[in-house]
Symmetry: C2
Subunit: 128 residues, 2 copies
DNA sequence: CATACTTAGTATCGAATTGAAACCTAAGGA
DNA sequence: TCCTTAGGTTTCAATTCGATACTAAGTATG
């Protein structure tokens, strides 16, 4: 093996626990949630409004997983209708810093990807 | 064309094309495939053996999507049983560089995540 | 000649995940 | 009493996934 992923565990082994982390990272909702929490703690319904297209179920599920993994913290405040504030943990912050790179990549290279898709789709074997 | 939100395109809008890219990135198999191709072109069955747990179907599907997005190239070589070589494109390489960060993060912080999971699971409302 | 084996997929089917929508709980206000 | 808010959970259909089987074309083996 060469340089990139050669320190101890490797994600290419099915039994490696790194797969657990990779599965969490490879979740578009988790990426978006962590991105928002990076700036400030946010309540449940505000997250729901800011992330267009997410369902309550997926938001709830994803937050629970992120909390379990120690990436976000959950604080229930006993106000009138109880409000719950989600915040990013120091560990989550280190991950979100990595994910920032991805979000930027997506926004930077989206055009090239769309052009590639068009070319592929108009190619001979494109239609299916 | 960019979306009209605050800073260029933003992935938090459901209709934003950036979501397309985010969906591709948020795919554990794509992350692993790009990581392998980074080093050298690889054939289909070799990829299948190196990425433990991937099915032929998912490998085939994921490669097709990556090709469509212009992230990997496909070259069919008319050898005996035809061999097909997959390689990373320059565009794919810029993405994989970002993903390296994630793979390293996963391998570096796996222990902290597992500890957090244990603590969560033994916590008050952990099991149901 | 017939069978088995190769690579790179596709087809099919049950299982798991997701999405959309409705429902639930608890407290305050009209 | 009913409505509203906040934060979920439940339900069910649709999509996706994983495992297995099958295709194609050519080679090697018996």
């Amino acid at each position: 093996m060469k340089s990139t992923t050669t320190k101890g565990s490797n994600a290419y082994a099915a039994a490696c626990p790194t797969r657990v982390v990779l599965d969490r990272i490879a979740d578009k909702w988790a990426v978006l949630i962590l991105g928002l929490l990076q700036e400030e703690p946010i309540r449940f319904n505000r997250l729901r409004k800011q992330i267009e297209g997410i369902s309550q179920k997926m938001l709830s599920q994803t937050l629970k997983k992120l909390e379990r993994d120690g990436l976000v913290g959950r604080k229930a405040i006993p106000t009138v209708p109880v409000t719950v504030e989600y915040s990013i943990t120091p560990l989550g912050r280190t991950l979100s810093a990595m994910l920032d790179g991805l979000r930027v990549w997506a926004e930077t290279h989206i055009e090239k990807v769309l052009i590639a898709q068009k070319r592929y789709d108009s190619g001979s074997r494109g239609s299916r």
